[in-house]
Structures are given as structure tokens and as C-alpha cells.
Amino acid sequence: MSINRNIRFSGPRVYLRPLVEDDATQIARSAIVETETQFNERGRVPTSELAYREWIRNIGSRPDNTEVTFAICRAGDDADTCIGMTTLRHIDHMNGTAETGTGLFRPAGRGQGFGTEAKNLLLSYAFETLHLHVVTAEVFSANTRSAAALRKQGYRLAGRRAAQNHRAGRFLDGLLFDITREDWLALHSPVSD
């Protein structure tokens, strides 16, 4: 694998690297090919690639370092294509907390463990490099697949928040999960960088 790929973390089937501007093409395309409606809090909305290019350009210019986003790529893909993103946001270094979010762009790529592997790499970074104490993730109550994936990964249900999403004439709750560093270390051996 080329050292020019700027890989930050590697797993058996995926690797994580910083986003580059050209990833905007895949991100913009994801709203067009998406077939599942329960992931997006505002529905599937085509958005200009220009918006994502601007967003990627601005990454790293935030003065407060409260968000880290990685591109997810398939191991062995010579094209280094971004197939999804995994993010730590609202990083609070004083309290050692953050929120996670992970998504794969194409429905066909889901359910094969790529997202879970990418999330594991992110959690390893959160707990073993940043030394965070607890991270959270929130999904809408109708998103049973993501809720099951979080539970399988070791997250526990921390509670539910009323009416976080609106779908098909109903207001649905948000389910908030948390996983502590202690939980993580009990489940996983440290991953070397």
C-alpha cells in the first residue's frame, strides 16, 4: 500500500485517512444513491459538491479542535476512494467526552462490517490516543439497524430524547448511547498506530 495515501489507521479491510477535497464528489453523490430514509434527520437532499469542497477546505482551520473526521477507504483499493466517513464531534477535552458518527455512502456497502471496523478504529483513537472517558452516539428510534450495531459494538442505551426527528407524520425519539473507555478496554486490546 502506498505511503502517499496519508493513512492514519489501518484495519484488515478498511483504513482511515484525512479527507481531501476530491472526496466531495463521493459525499455529494451519496445523497443521490441513498435508498434508506431513516439515517438522515432532514431527508435525502441533493447538495452541491461545492458545499462539501468548502467544508473540507475549512477542516483544520477551526481554532478549538472539537471535531475530527476521517475518510473510510477499502484496504487494497488503489483508487483510494472514500466510501464513507467517521467522525468525532463536540470533543470536550476538559471532560473527556465526544460524540461519534459513522456512515457509509452506498447502501450496498452496508451490513458487511466495514462501518463497524471503521468505528472501531475511531474508538481506538478516541480512547487510546485522545484518552477520552466516554463517547456517545445518537440514532433515531426508527433506525433499528444502527441501534443494533451500536449495541453490538459495546455501547449502552443512555436514554431517549423526545421528538428529535419527524418522519411520515410522526415525531420520533432519538436514542442516545454511550460507551466508556473502561467498556472499550474490556472489549478490545489496544491497537498500535
Partner: protein, 191 residues
């Protein structure tokens, strides 16, 4: 509760006044006293606070998604804290309360308690929000008791999310659902 605007500090409306505290909108000169109202643990210079006011407080007619109000003593007009009401989709409200760090802990509790007693009924009634949510450390007993007395209940508990230096406490989210909207919130999957 004072009912005449003439007896309140400048800028405090009667509908946002309690027995001893009131809430008012920001002014340019508040930048010089940011330590008492800006909810950040890091110090901010008056110049930075002025720049923040210039960018965050320039949406008129109460249309900003992030509403900032300062808490002042009714007797003196002294700034003792603040409230940020983060509005999501104009129907969900998240309260961020702040009391001046120069106050004693019990006084900070009184300020934040006073703020939520004023704002929760107003947000549910006049702003017609579906829910109002307060995030707070689990060891803030006085503020939690006041929130419960306002009908808020614990909806989320995040384990050990608040660092107290030599120990950790949980972070709670307390929530009040507007009774007007409870019938349209689907909780059929709740076990």
C-alpha cells in the same frame, strides 16, 4: 413578580422577570463584562466578546436559532449569568445556563435555578416548543430539584461525563415535553 416595566432594570421584560432575577437581550457594552455571562471555561478578552456579539447577536426579531439572554439582578441590573436557548427546527429547545464564576457555588445554584424557573414556562408556552431540555451534571442537586419541580424528568444519563478533577459524575439531560404536543410524539417502540 414585578409587573411594571418601569420598575425593572433596563431591557428586562416583565414576562422574563422572577422575584430577584430577570433576563434581557445583550448589548454592545456587555462585551466588557463577558466573564460574567459567556459560557466558556476559557477566558475571553473584551475584544473577542465584542466580535462574538457582532456575529451571533445580529439576527433580528428573535429569529436566531441560538437565543442568548443575560441574567441580571432586578435590584441593581448587575449581570450574574446567562441563558442560551438553542432552538432546533424551531420546535426543540436546549437550555444552556451559566452563572458568573465569581459567585459562590450556592449563589451560582440560585442564579441557574432562577433562570430555569423563568425560561421553562415561557419557552413551552409563548415559544410553543415541543420539548425543553436541560443538560446538567448529576451533582447539581439544587438546580435538578428546581427542574423537576418544573415538570422536567431525566431522559438521558451519560456515565462519568463530567470531570470534577478527583472524581467523575454523570451528565444528565432533563426534559419537559409540552403537553400540547405529547399526543403526536410516537413512543410506541419504547420498551
Amino acid at each position: 413578580m414585578p409587573t411594571s416595566a418601569n420598575r425593572l432594570p433596563s431591557g428586562v421584560a416583565p414576562y422574563l422577570a422572577g422575584p430577584t432575577l430577570g433576563l434581557r437581550a445583550t448589548r454592545a457594552e456587555d462585551a466588557a463584562h463577558a466573564v460574567h455571562w459567556l459560557d466558556t471555561p476559557l477566558p475571553v478578552t473584551p475584544a473577542a466578546a465584542a466580535a462574538l456579539l457582532d456575529t451571533s447577536e445580529t439576527v433580528g426579531w428573535g429569529l436566531s436559532a441560538d437565543l442568548r439572554l443575560l441574567a441580571v439582578r432586578l435590584e441593581t441590573g448587575e449581570i450574574v449569568g446567562s441563558l442560551r436557548l438553542e432552538r432546533q427546527e424551531d420546535r426543540l429547545g436546549r437550555l444552556v445556563t451559566f452563572a458568573s464564576p465569581v459567585l459562590a457555588p450556592t449563589e451560582r445554584d440560585r442564579v441557574e435555578t432562577g433562570i430555569i424557573r423563568i425560561v421553562v414556562p415561557w419557552a413551552l408556552d409563548e415559544l410553543d416548543l415541543m420539548t425543553v431540555e436541560l443538560t446538567i451534571a448529576a451533582d447539581r442537586d439544587a438546580v435538578i430539584a428546581a427542574a423537576r419541580a418544573l415538570g422536567m424528568h431525566e431522559s438521558v444519563r451519560i456515565r462519568g461525563a463530567v470531570n470534577r478533577g478527583n472524581h467523575r459524575v454523570d451528565r444528565l439531560m432533563l426534559e419537559r415535553i409540552n403537553p400540547r404536543y405529547a399526543p403526536v410524539i410516537d413512543r410506541s417502540d419504547e420498551s
